[in-house]
Amino acid sequence: MRMEEWTALELGRKIKAREISVREAAQAGLDRIAALDGEYNSFVTVDAERALARADEVQQAIDAGTLTGPLVGVPAAVKDNICTQGLKTTCSSRILYNFVPTYSAEAVLNMEKAGAVVLGKTNMDEFAMGSTTETSAFGPTKNPWNTEHVPGGSSGGSCAAVAAREVPYALGSDTGGSIRQPASFCGVTGLKPTYGTVSRYGLIAYGSSLDQIGPIARDVSDCAAILEMIASHDRKDSTSIAREDYDFTSALTDDVRGLRVGIPSDYLGEGLDDEVRQAVLGAADVLRQKGAEVEEFDLSLVEYAIPAYYVIASAEASSNLARFDGIKYGYRAQDYDGLHNMYKKSRSEGFGEEVKRRIMLGSFVLSSGYYDAYYLKALRTKALIKQSFDRAFAKYDVILAPASPDTAPRLGESLGDPLKMYLGDIYTISVNLAGLPGISVPCCTDASGLPIGVQMIGDCFQEKKILRAAYAYEQARGPWQAPEGIASSAAQGRKTDAGAGVSEGKGGNV
């Protein structure tokens, strides 16, 4: 059996057709994790016993005819900042090293209702603060395409797990690009939905006004199906929105005729790697050839998104992370002198450097005398950025953009200079500020063989438009290859040469 060859939907079909049992699918995933994860470190927690018991339960429900969805019985992974009842949830932080949630996130409940089998929890940048998955307290995740490189972050574990075919899909979270950027680095597809589409109940908050859970999978169809499964209007999340449409898979039509696509010229200038630029322009050509109207335009305000983001996200984080105090859950320092010393020691020992840096910055910008100059200024800037997107979406259905200025950096290269790392989020961050949906789709690989993704951004609640564009692009691009090593084990039994469309390494699809 070569479960690793199948997408989530393909596996779901085989499970429903009784070609493979839910337990076999789960076991195959667990075996791959056991074989590969020592190297990649995509997972923080794997609970085989629980997964297999759950698999049997789902099988029974399938046999009884009570579970029939397209993803029924398909194994999955969940980012470790999304609460799973009875399954350790650490945010890759020492401060939550032993935390076992008493409830599951709404998105996880929705998955379970659809028959998902969660194999484990994936590694991430601590509290989702980072772009490389190197700030994890449990060691960095490595990029399955080249283990000397990072997988991106913060959902690096989820993206690496899908890239390494340990699971067909995973949930990630995206506050400033944390799904789309690692998806691009790992050669997988990742979707950040419109703010409010997937409930945040049970997502351990980093920047509450920006956080959104989304799917990470092998292709666009999977992402659409997973989003359909996890999206819901949740009364437990006041910012959850009752949408008019949840039928995201209906957008997979391979038809972009008349679709208006804009490329922000200000995204293509200084700081963008040339190979990535060529990849984006190549993707634009593909869409144009399929009948879309593509042009460049000035989005404006691009350089203000990152500073505004770091004020807002850090401020919210400083407050959201105050609850980790050694009293109700998680890590408490061993030796302390009184209450306040207990707080300080538990938090200082429990949080990593990057988290502390953002808490300090966030506390500072909210402190007496600075609120207007920093926080309100950032919220006003956010309003301007939203307006510039509103203007763009009056003219375009989809904005085509890079997901990141570069391909995955080497391990250890980024953390030394936080500001430089933050600049890497330039193409993803404003999407969160404006609450928009965005998807990253693998495009090609660079000269060194690392994947490049392109990002498609839609107006709020227009997931279907970006899915339509992404799907059409994906059809033209052709099947995506697995990373080398992963590919060799997977490709041996392959009947067709899946890698043909990207055999040139880059731009081979145009």
Partner: protein
């Protein structure tokens, strides 16, 4: 660097955030926050005097619960993660002098 962060500021923010930094971490934090603020000061290039601060991206309002009890006693699971508890309560260092 335009923003110079003093020792007092780091000490003060440490009290607010309940973080205790080592001497080395303090120096690093001063540098990092100063640099970030320099970068954030870029926002001052924008004239936002006519712009309302935008907290929520969508104009959603009035999301309410009805006043109906929906929760049962779940004390045992609530306490299950506590580093220390006693008599059905979370145990903390003495809070009064």
């Amino acid at each position: 660097m335009a923003n110079i962060i003093s020792d007092e500021t780091i000490e003060y923010v440490g009290i607010l955030a309940k973080l205790e930094l080592s001497a080395q971490e303090r120096e690093q934090a001063k540098k990092d926050i100063g640099r970030m603020l320099d970068y954030i000061d870029k926002l001052n290039e924008l004239d936002t005097s006519q712009v309302e601060p935008l907290s929520h991206v969508f104009p959603v309002h009035n999301v309410f619960r009805e006043d109906v009890v929906t929760n049962q006693d779940q004390r045992d699971v609530i306490l299950a993660n506590a580093p220390a508890c006693k008599d059905g309560s979370f145990k903390v260092p003495k809070t009064v002098e």
